[in-house]
């Protein structure tokens, strides 16, 4: 847990004093990623750098796991906080292994333990240790360097991490990949992370909470969905963008908007059964399942009324399906692409789970409700 209390930084410059950070208080719960977001010069980086004393606060307190950081020696404090920076900052004179084990080495781990840790971390980011441990940073691609930069910050297994635009130095495609990879790692590691970004999309994707700064003060600190649904002022609304409702689609999973529909028909059921179902429920189509509950197609009103025989003989093909753990954006995008108002949802085993309609999505966005991000 990281807690800032009335944190303030005033820089003395030739043109008088400048307040870079103005009485900021916020708390990052254990295991959460808090994204500090804002335009450049808003104080987000200064705030982060005060946590590991790269910048000394003018006033205010910083607590890590309820312990006042003033009580630590800055060097000792920094060794116990993972740190990743935008320029990656791998040391070109050291091998990948030496780079990764800098902090463990500073903490006095023995050689063997350091090496094992380096191997473990490389495996974590799917880089073959035997191939990469002896390489120098100049022999790595940009994406590989970025990964090493991140695992280096994880090396000593510090519970708290500071990340200053850690995926900033990389092309958008690789950035997505590394972000996903990092989120997957974070699910296991549950570090408490303060993460600086200027990219709202990255913030929405990575953060459990987003703190938006302007001119040194904290404007709003909220969960991504709340921030997008209820920006507290025009600045925030403007900053998160006019498409903020669309951004929320990415935060919600399909299952959030899904209706669980148990009323389906089998391949051998008659069309009469399908027609009765359609009339009693008022839905526009009914999904046809085989014996393993895999959807084989659907039957709509027209077919049910005009056709003859079993549902299996009158199947209309499903143009596409989605998975319940996908984000809602996928469903909406597919629905627009295929010009449909509903889509069948599958579970992890490819069995039918329910369906999503445009109306259910609109309703979900309207309520702004969402499961907590930490769930």
């Amino acid at each position: 847990m990281i807690r800032l209390e009335q944190l303030t930084k005033v820089f003395q410059t030739d043109h008088g004093s400048v307040t870079a950070v103005d009485h900021v208080s916020l708390e990052v719960p254990e295991g959460d990623i808090c994204v500090l977001l804002g335009p450049s010069g808003c104080g987000k980086t200064t705030t982060m750098k005060m946590v590991n004393r790269l910048i000394a606060p003018t006033s205010g307190k910083i607590y890590i796991n309820d312990k006042d950081t003033d009580e630590y020696d800055p060097v000792e404090l920094r060794r116990n906080i993972g740190y990743a920076i935008q320029q990656i900052g791998l040391f070109p004179n050291m091998t990948v292994e030496e780079n990764i084990t800098i902090v463990p080495d500073l903490l006095g781990w023995d050689k063997k333990r350091c090496r094992e840790r380096a191997r473990e971390l490389l495996n974590m980011v799917a880089m073959e240790p035997d191939q990469f441990l002896r390489r120098y940073p100049s022999e790595l691609s940009g994406g590989q360097q970025q990964r090493i930069g991140v695992v280096r910050a994880l090396a000593a297994d510090a519970p708290v991490m500071l990340m200053d635009e850690p995926f900033g130095a990389i092309d958008p495609i690789n950035r997505e990949v590394i972000q996903d990879e990092f989120l997957r790692m974070q699910e296991q590691l549950r570090k408490t992370i303060m993460f600086v970004s200027h990219d709202i999309d990255e913030a929405v994707k990575m953060g459990n909470g987003i703190a938006i700064f302007r001119g040194g003060s904290l404007e709003q600190y909220a969960a991504p969905d709340e921030l997008l649904a209820y920006p507290v002022n025009d600045f925030i609304a403007d900053f998160v963008g006019g498409d903020r409702t669309l951004k929320r689609l990415r935060l919600a999973h399909i299952e959030d908007a899904m209706s669980i529909e148990t009323r389906t028909v089998g391949l051998d059921d008659s069309l009469d059964k399908a027609r009765d179902l359609l009339e009693s429920t008022g839905v526009e189509a009914v999904v046809v399942l085989d014996g393993q509950r895999h959807p084989r197609g659907y039957v709509d009103r027209r077919v049910a009324i005009q056709g003859e025989g079993t549902a299996g003989e009158n199947l209309l093909p499903l143009a596409f399906t989605v998975k319940r753990r996908d984000d809602l954006r996928t469903a909406v995008s597919q629905m627009f692409a295929h010009d449909t108002r509903w889509v069948a949802v599958l579970d992890d085993h490819g069995r039918y789970a329910g369906f999503v309609t445009q109306a259910s999505i609109t309703e979900l966005l309207g309520t702004g409700s969402r499961r907590p991000a930490t769930a």
């Binding site: 060097v75 920094r78 740190y83 920076i85 900052g89 040391f91 004179n93 800098i102 500073l106 500071l162």
Partner: protein
């Protein structure tokens, strides 16, 4: 290795032709030199060459090692935060020192310290100092700021940052300064004879004064050889000592 020998084999005939031609040329040159009696004359001074060569090597070696021993710490000192604002001024002063002609430095050294070996060492030392100080200073300043930030942020102490980050990353540039200093030093050392420091300059200057070409060459050729050999040796050290990741000579992979 396989590729290299393959190239050799492919270009075999021309390569061998050139080499044979070179050997013939060297042989012809040797024969001509022998015919002029130069080699014989030089060999007659072999004892002098050995004695003075050793002295010359001492002049160069001692003054250069002292310059390295003082220059690198001085360069490092100039990059420290507390001194940095005055660094350029200090370097400008030292720079001005470098513009004083070599001979004048030796003359000044003599007028203060007298004649002999140590005043010569002092003059050569002063002269070798600047390239080392300047390159150390520039090399460390050229280490990117984000490496410093990463190092501090991960909890390195200032001495750890110096030894593990700044010096290794600046080492190639520092070595370049040491090489320049050595080249200057070897070239200047013959002048030490003029203030009684001995060395191969004795043969050169005496040869000139007596209009004895062989004697002059007996000094000049070893000086030239010494310069080439020493530069080659420091090149080797540079190649192996500078970490692979920051050594342009070894490239990546």
């Amino acid at each position: 290795m396989a590729a290299a020998s393959g190239t050799l084999r492919r270009s075999g005939p021309t390569h061998r032709g050139l080499r044979n031609l070179g050997l013939v040329a060297i042989f012809a040159f040797g024969a001509w030199v022998q015919a002029t009696g130069l080699i014989h004359a030089m060999l007659s001074q072999w004892d002098d060459i050995l004695y003075l060569g050793k002295q010359h090597l001492e002049l160069v070696g001692i003054s250069w090692i002292l310059a390295v021993a003082v220059g690198i710490p001085l360069g490092v000192l100039l990059t420290r935060r507390s001194v940095r604002r005055n660094s350029e001024t200090i370097l400008q002063v030292v720079n001005t020192g470098q513009t004083i002609p070599t001979l004048a430095v030796l003359a000044l050294s003599m007028s203060v310290l007298g004649i002999g070996f140590w005043p010569s060492i002092f003059g050569l030392w002063i002269y070798s100092l600047l390239p080392i100080v300047r390159n150390t200073y520039q090399g460390i300043l050229a280490v990117p700021g984000h490496l410093q930030e990463a190092a501090v942020g991960m909890g390195m102490t200032p001495p750890q940052i110096l030894w593990r980050v700044e010096l290794p990353n600046a080492l190639f540039v520092i070595f370049a300064g040491m090489r320049t200093a050595l080249a200057i030093n070897v070239g200047t050392a013959p002048l030490a004879f003029l203030i009684g420091g001995g060395g191969l300059g004795e043969l050169i200057f005496t040869g000139i004064a007596l209009d004895q070409q062989t004697m002059m060459l007996a000094g000049a050729i070893p000086v030239a050889l010494l310069a080439v050999i020493l530069d080659f040796m420091i090149g080797l050290v540079q190649f192996w000592l500078v970490p692979k990741g920051v050594n342009p000579l070894r490239g990546s992979r």
